[in-house]
């Protein structure tokens, strides 16, 4: 039955290899713009590095983790061979080819436009075509998730879809739809200019299209993490999932409300009306709902485990939890970072509060804490949990795993808290150079130095992570027991159609997108004279 092991391993190894390289670039960037290092004299090197770091960390790494984990889930949850294995390999090859095509021009200094593209800056066309190939490769995965779900439902009429598969398909649909915004921007706006077919571009419209992708892409990165909270954590610590239906509703809510809210990234953009900014702000607030549902459900599930292990009293169950289990530890650290990151996010999504920190280092600190912290730490946990089932070798360096998770947590806090702070002090982001001898920003030197130290800790943690995996690759062969996902306290025997499929929710998603994005896009398309000359960047 189990025929996608090599596929999943290929995805995860390529993802983590990219992650390791981009991690080093990130720390180099922190260092050279800190007071610890003399000015490198050439901002282009800095932006080249930022582009490579962002492209790898945002497009390649989480996409491959989601794809690999999705293929793993498909076989393990549906208990049958995955349909479309050959297509899955084609998707993987597309992602690899796209990554190489995108990174080569970046490395040559021909596309230092940052991963968010920033038109009217225009880089080498291969960069954008590479990103499109990565997205197309991931759409193969979206289609395969859908096909496998459809075939399983056809063969098991009326049976409840396993929760983990339901959540995975929700994540894939979210990505399939949210990637459309950037795809429209790339295919119809940026790539024609990069190829020299046009020499002007409507940068405002491009930013609106990108905002379509930009917010929900974070929820796509978050999906494997949330799936692990629900389906790995309770099982790994000997508990049960508190509620299967609550989990489904949380993923449905993510699917609907995490996408048509992206204009809150464009609060300071003049080309979008204030009314739409308010509308998006309101719907952004509703994203808190599935997150709070998740926090409740997971805390309840963990409490069940604590009580099953003999914990008593109001808080006594916390002590009874298996804190030496890397899954328990990773989830708890992830929750702490999610809490702090979420609090920062509330500031970003408020129209007025955002004005104080817009385009400051607060934003960079925020998304590193959420993505690099809360999300990526669970990617490590997922890898630790499924690795033995992929390699057929024991992964038992538990002490190293705990050290790795703790250092990742500590490093991310030391990195991102001062980062938020200097942002509140007004330090702008996306700048290659800061003159700390100037009295106006001299006081920020200490905070930036702390962030560099946090980065060093993260690099060390990254090294530990690769040591754990390498030791697993060379360990004794073993036959792991069948893989299991969490079981709910009350496993569903039958479900209403709404909680067992996606027709209704995809309809709502598209409808809400039209309501929230239709007019701004139509208006910008219909307004003449919005295009500006493209600015070609790159070493010639």
């Amino acid at each position: 039955m189990w025929n996608s092991k090599r596929l999943v391993l290929a995805h995860l190894w390529f993802a983590f290899a990219g992650f390791g390289a981009a991690l080093l670039l990130g720390e180099w960037q922190m260092l050279v713009r800190s007071p610890l290092h003399a000015w490198i004299s050439n901002p282009e090197w800095y932006y080249r590095s930022v582009t490579a770091h962002g492209t790898t960390m945002a497009y390649v790494f989480p996409t491959l983790v989601a794809m690999g984990f999705g293929y793993f889930v498909t076989e393990q949850a549906l208990q049958r061979p995955m349909a479309g294995l050959r297509w899955a390999w084609i998707g993987f090859v597309l992602v690899v080819v796209g990554t190489v095509a995108a990174i080569v021009p970046v490395a040559l200094g021909r596309a230092s436009v940052l991963y968010t593209f920033y038109p009217p800056l225009i880089g080498h066309p291969f960069y954008y075509i590479g990103v499109v190939l990565v997205v197309v490769g991931s759409w193969v995965w979206v289609a395969l998730m859908s096909v496998n779900l459809y075939r399983w439902k056809r063969d098991n009429p009326g049976a409840p879809v396993p929760f983990v598969m339901f959540a995975t398909v929700a994540g894939s649909y979210l990505w399939g739809w949210t990637a459309v915004g950037a795809a429209l921007e790339l295919l119809f706006q940026i790539i024609p200019v990069a190829l020299g077919l046009r020499d002007t571009i409507d940068a405002g419209l491009a930013r609106v299209f990108f905002s379509w992708t930009l917010h929900a892409i974070v929820y796509f990165w978050l999906m494997p993490t949330y799936i692990a909270y629900y389906t790995i954590v309770p099982r790994a610590i000997g508990g049960r999932l508190f509620s299967d239906s609550m989990g489904r509703i949380a993923f449905i809510l993510f699917l609907i409300v995490s996408m048509p809210i992206g204009i809150h990234h464009a609060f300071e953009d003049p080309q979008v009306g204030a009314g739409f900014k308010y509308l998006h702000s309101v719907f952004t607030a509703f994203v808190a709902l599935p997150t709070l549902l998740t926090v409740f459900t997971i805390c309840a599930s963990v409490e069940i485990a604590g009580r099953l292990r003999g914990g008593k009293g109001v808080l006594g169950w916390l002590k009874a939890l298996p804190w030496d289990n890397p899954v328990m530890l990773g989830a708890a650290l992830s929750f702490v970072m999610l809490g702090f990151g979420g609090a920062g996010g509330l500031i970003n999504m408020s129209y007025q509060l955002n004005a104080t920190i817009h385009n400051t280092q607060f934003i960079t600190g925020h998304f590193h804490l959420i993505f690099g912290g809360a999300i990526v730490i669970m990617y490590f946990v997922i890898a630790y949990d499924i690795w033995p089932h992929l390699t057929g070798r024991a992964l038992d360096s538990f002490g190293l795993m705990r050290a790795q998770l703790w250092t990742w947590f500590a490093g991310m806090i030391v990195l991102s808290f001062p980062w938020h702070w200097v942002g509140i002090l007004g330090m702008p982001r996306r700048m290659a150079f800061y003159d700390y001898t100037d009295p106006a920003i001299a006081a920020q030197a200490a905070s930036v130095t702390m962030s560099v130290i946090g980065g060093v800790i993260l690099v060390l943690s990254g090294v530990l992570f690769f040591i754990v995996l390498a030791r697993g690759q060379t360990a004794q062969r073993t036959e792991p027991a069948a893989y299991r996902f969490s079981v709910a306290v009350h496993p569903p025997r039958s479900l209403p159609a709404a909680l067992n499929g996606f027709g209704l929710w995809l309809g709502l998603l598209v409808g809400l997108t039209i309501v929230n994005y239709g007019f701004p896009i139509a208006h910008l398309l219909a307004t003449a004279g919005m295009a500006v000359p493209a600015i070609n960047v790159g070493v010639r």
Partner: protein, 262 residues
């Protein structure tokens, strides 16, 4: 359990989810498009519909007869875009060479000045064209250049730009071993000054002239003219903003640095 009953008013999941989503959207829209705009102090809407259009991002056009503020001095009429004036023909360069005979007194026989006038050899064609145009329209003032530029046609200016861009730059200049001054290398971020090379570098931004080898006294005079507002043909005030915030020492250092490099 079958999918075809999903979009039905008898399906409570459908009515509840669609109803709640629509209710949130409607309430948020009323607040965001009508109520909040009308609460703003200082907005002069002519009714609710006006407020809604404004919140939707429709461009509000000034009523006819409204006063339009214009600069009280001539501004440049040249719109500089990338790739402008590229690929001049040999004929254009030849015509420019003939026209340039009138310029040799100050700018030298092959565009290299002996008289602290700017060296034009190898200058970017956009820069030559724009400055000639600005002298002609009065956007840039010069007692010497204005009468010379007054009679130049559009084609003359393009030909002159093509000729001077074609000439080789000053090359027998001693290489500059001096360390780049801070203001040139880094600008002054806290004063909003970008490094000079950000626009005047190897990859010159459209409209930004080549500064290497220009006479120091000319560069200093121009920076001072930008700072005092005597020269104002930089359409976005970019050079005036930079020069105003530069100290006299920085102006001197930057002028010397560029004068000393090829």
């Amino acid at each position: 359990m079958s999918g075809d009953r999903i979009a039905s008013l008898r399906n409570p999941w459908f009515t509840a989810s669609a109803g709640i989503t629509a209710a949130i959207a409607i309430v948020a829209a009323i607040a965001g498009f009508a109520w909040l705009p009308l609460q703003q102090q200082g907005e002069r809407f002519r009714g609710v519909w006006d407020a809604i259009c404004s919140a939707a991002g429709l461009v509000w056009t000034a009523p006819s007869g409204a006063q339009i503020v214009r600069a009280d001095y001539p501004t440049t009429r040249v719109e500089v875009v990338p790739e402008m004036l590229q690929g001049a023909s040999a004929e254009s360069i030849g015509r420019g060479a003939t026209l340039a005979l009138r310029c040799t007194m100050c700018h030298g026989a092959r565009g290299l000045s002996q008289a602290d006038s700017p060296n034009l050899a190898g200058q970017s064609p956009v820069t030559i064209y724009k400055q000639l145009n600005d002298f002609k329209t009065g956007a840039r003032t010069s007692a010497v250049m204005a009468p010379l530029a007054a009679d130049l046609s559009e084609a003359d200016m393009r030909d002159l730009a093509a000729y001077y861009a074609y000439l080789p730059r000053l090359s027998d200049h001693p290489p500059n071993t001096e360390v780049r001054p801070r203001i040139v290398a880094n600008g002054a971020p806290m004063r909003g000054i970008a490094p000079c090379g950000a626009c005047h570098g190897v990859e010159s931004k459209a409209g930004a002239g080549w500064l290497g080898g220009q006479p120091a006294v000319y560069l200093r005079t121009q920076l001072e003219a930008f700072a005092s507002g005597v020269r104002r043909n930089d359409i976005g005030e970019q050079m005036r903003n930079v020069a105003r915030r530069m100290t006299p020492e920085e102006i001197d250092a930057a002028s010397r640095f560029y004068a000393d490099r090829p």
